[in-house]
Symmetry: D2
Subunit: 372 residues, 4 copies
């Protein structure tokens, strides 16, 4: 439609934590000139003053008090940064009106919502990207490359866990409200874990799970733990929790194969530990993923300068812009799309279904459709 030189005009919905992270990431995308030029065109919040001050701070042209003002207006990409219960409504309307969409995870509050939205995307000519930003941590991208290259031999085990501890506090806000959020740790944190499992190991076949709610009276789960088998027949565990004392943002993964193994942890996002075969036996090596040859490092600083959490968000949104510009082959993993968002939602639903069934305790994960 537009020539590569026309900027992609972005409209952000929401002005909370993640909206701010998106805005800063787009600024950096713009400064680095990665893909087509981008323009921060407008921001919508429910209160105009919030939208206004957010716009001022982040160099955004327009501010408005209703997301409906963005839909059908002069923006190309609608970026949905609101609580979970409005994702499907806003993203769906934007797709229908002919916008491309960035939508925060989880795609919907459950798989039914997610499938409805995914179907609308499929029926449209537009694209939707679901923000599973941890695919864009350089270390995670490197792991994807190493797995693909056969470095670890045949995979036969894994562990994906996302633990935090803020659920041990009062637990106020929409993330503890089942109606607004859909679920607790399963949808919020587990969806990231399931997405990484899919991206790094493969599609999920089967889940046996248990959930826990530690705080009395809370309407959502605080934690879950599950035994998971992939379509390829590899078994391991996936879990998440908001109630692990001392865990701040500990998204951790381990992948094990016949010739090596790898582990990584968001709290030390620049490091990977790789076990490799050497003539003398297996050697465990730990290193910073900050070499100029490491994934996406040449968009940052010289070797050895560690990156922060926002590196993942920058990578995800840069990859979105580059995908929309037809130049995204640069990244180790593609930005997650509507099908990935749906797949994560299906895993979340299977987890909750299995946990609800005290006897059998296992649930087969419905296929996304059209996926190998």
């Amino acid at each position: 439609m537009s020539s590569p030189e026309t900027p992609i005009r972005i409209g952000i919905v929401g002005t909370g934590f993640i909206a701010r992270a998106h805005a800063e990431a787009y600024r950096r995308v713009r400064d680095l000139g990665t893909g087509r030029p981008v323009e921060l065109a407008s921001v919508a919040s429910r209160r105009l003053d919030n939208a206004r001050s957010f716009a001022d701070r982040h160099g955004i042209r327009d501010a408005m008090d209703d997301w409906r003002g963005l839909v059908g207006a002069d923006v190309d990409l609608v970026d949905v940064c609101t609580p979970n219960d409005s994702h499907v409504e806003i993203a769906g309307a934007a797709i229908d009106a002919g916008h491309d969409v960035v939508c925060e995870k989880p795609l919907g509050r459950d798989a039914t919502e997610a499938r409805g939205l995914a179907d609308r995307v499929e029926a449209s000519t537009r694209r939707l990207f679901c923000v599973f930003n941890y695919r864009f941590v350089p270390a995670v991208a490197l792991i994807a490359e190493l797995v693909r290259s056969g470095e670890f031999g045949d995979l036969h085990g894994f562990r994906f866990d996302y633990s935090q501890d803020w659920g041990l506090g009062e637990g106020t806000g929409w993330k503890f409200d089942g109606v607004a959020a859909g679920s607790g740790s399963v949808g919020d944190l587990g969806s990231h874990a399931f997405d990484l499992l899919r991206a790094l190991v493969g599609p999920i076949d089967w889940i046996s799970a248990r959930t826990t709610t530690v705080a009395p009276g809370r309407s959502v789960d605080d934690a879950f733990v599950s035994l998971v088998t992939t379509v390829g027949g590899v078994s391991g565990t996936v879990s998440s929790s908001r109630v692990v004392p001392g865990a701040k943002n500990r998204l951790a993964l381990e992948i094990t194969g016949t010739r090596g193994a790898v582990s990584w942890n968001l709290e030390r996002l620049n490091e990977i530990t790789v076990v490799r075969e050497t003539p003398g036996g297996f050697e465990r090596t730990t290193r910073l993923v900050t070499r100029s040859a490491d994934p996406s490092i040449d968009r940052w600083w010289p070797e050895g300068h560690v990156l922060g959490w926002e590196a993942a968000m920058f990578g995800n949104l840069a990859a979105v812009i580059e995908t929309l510009s037809g130049r995204a082959d640069w990244w180790a993993l593609p930005p997650a799309d509507h099908r990935d968002g749906l797949a994560a939602a299906l895993a979340v639903d299977a987890t909750l279904a299995s946990a609800a069934d005290a006897t059998a305790g296992a649930a087969t994960v419905a296929p996304v459709g059209g996926e190998s």
Copy 2:
């Protein structure tokens, strides 16, 4: 029967790795004079020359070429250090003949064997101790004390894993033979993990599991992973593997509660990591469990001198001797007995049953009987 001053005469069956570890531990028990005096009376192997050279090296009086020579003879305690397929036969005969017994884990090749043996013990006036030696690592004992004291609040999660990598090699020897061993990693390594879970968190109610055999043609599992719920309603994972590259003897555990958490790993057996509440938030502390006030440290060196693997075997056999002398209240955890051996075997069987059932994937663990 015998006065406290009469030595406990010990007869060891087997001269392999673990027999040597037992012999060195009994020597240290003797030197330290912990409990009743002990006397290394005899050793039996299938070949007399092996028994003879083992006896010479370890200061044992008699050597013989058949374990039957020990049974009914002048020994008080028969210590079974043979491969799994002879545990029940030798230990059972010894019990029936009126000996106390130390029997290496796993108690039998399956729960049927184990229950048969346990029943014979129950019907006798003798005692049987199953060697779950990792209960006697000072750090593990300290964890037992901390859990019991409520240090971590209400427990709501756990992970017990025992990983090694020698199964990535040729895999020769009886431990890879299903007939001699019963199972692969599940019975060999998993039984330790299940025992620690029971000792530290509580009895097991429910297991959903998957096993893997990586090496073609191998008759036993190389690894398993499971979702486990205790009778008390706490869910977590238990797993073991002989095919994790770089894992040498990595028996690792994590226990999580509402007010704290703890983790430990046999490859760094002197250290624990404890998360505790402080006024400023949760703090993760790591320290050596080598303070003079730490469990069993006063039987070793001054503060700060790290211990090796054999500390656990010493502790277990010292506790057995002290239990037989009526003075074992000193230890944080009791030495495992026939019921503990059976309970581990039941968990092993439930694991294998669940893994064999591709659909439901879950199995309820039969109670040991008479256990809360």
Copy 3:
């Protein structure tokens, strides 16, 4: 002169690595509205095209091909991001022309250059800030607060080391040229280490040092190691190296006192390890410095989101802008000024003098003057 609402107009000299880091930091200062507004007014490089493309990328108004164009022109703050041999010339001219100055470390190639520049600053009404950015890592700021609060009792030991390994390569570029750089690792990396020692422990009295040049024919040192005593009588070591295999950007410190100790490392910049007295003995705690109450974290993300290397540069330049706006009491440590730059240069010179004297091997560090 100007009202608080007038923006501070910034002119950057240089377009290399650190110029880019400054530009991104100023952008974030501007977006966050910390202190007076800032305006990226111009950039000067020796080649106009470089200046131009740098200006485009970073939203800078003017580009020019000679730093002399900035001096006396419509900028308030001149920011010197050129190689060491031009620091004194450019910064001195800017001070004389009435600009405030940000000057990259080291202040000069030696203490004579640095003292000359410092004297010009003293004689002027302007301010000069020397970029010792690691003062602004949140963990370092927290350490400053903890030391000050007496948390560690009386300090009696320290270790400051800055190791990298790129000197094991070819070693091309001005940083390996003694004329352009002044010295090798001592001035480049050691100056950061000496500055942190001064900021956290106190002024330096005495240095005994040895230098090493590993690569044949190289005109600068590759590494140094020194025994250092502070004016307060605390002894420890300071060292730096470009030839430590596997060290990428390992600025590491340890401070030891009678009641506790602390350590930190730039390669894991979000973590500190603190040893504290507890009723049971000393406990070593390791945690992420990403709590909302931790220094400067509220300018970033919610708790638990780790920061990258650029956090320090942002903090330093934000503190400079706030200092120039009269509102910098917010930071744990002030931005380093001309006296701090001179003090580091004096330590560098004493190091080189001691290392050159094979017999006595020790040198007293000249006082900056006017310092307690």
Copy 4:
């Protein structure tokens, strides 16, 4: 003199901590039949009851209340495990009477004492071994082999530190008494550090040092830190302390070369971290030194079973017995002898001399004599 089959009869002087460690080590040497047979012949203490109960516990034949009873009597090897102030008297008398001697470190309270004793050994036909047991930690032995093989290229840096924290307590006992001990941390802990530096890197040329005494009124140093240059021209630091909070037995070393580096720490004695060149850059590997091919591991357990502190004492005394039997080529490093004990004492004296000289602060280390 005696045939290889005649046992080496050992007489131990002292019944404290280290005497017990020696006794247990000799028992294991005897059980493993390493070198000539050994016989625990007698033990002398100042109180007969102590000697008696020590003898009972450790299977020693005779007990006596004066070490003079051992000298000239029916023992081959006199093992001196008393406080420092009696080392020279007892060891010297034993040498003069024709015994081989094992003497605990430090050889004397100062280099004068040590040289006197060393001269008596040189003038005799007997051998004296000074117990620098940390040479016999398998990881340290492996490091010696790796350094020797050129694995790390040309060495250009090192750090040896031995830190503990018990000096923060009351500080009672002879180790805090300058007359009985000679010095504080320098002779007690620093002597181990200096010995390892000599054994792994080379003889010491030059020391510039500072000492600290934290506790008021204490007659010995609590800590020292020094800049050290070897005869081969490599500079680094050596330090020790009894007042580092949280350090229990932290003997730590780092050795750096042009092609790699290694580090190790007694608190995790089974692990080494090695940095090596790989095609992709330097890789840091951490592993357990418990492979069957690792130094002295085949005298312990199967692969992966970690060792404790006593492994070093066992190795040292086994190597002594094997050396006396003419079969010690098996070990990576020889057991330290009188010259090594003297060399450590000379380094201790140079450290104290340098620290006492507030101006120049450096001291050349006198050569042992006859050493390259």
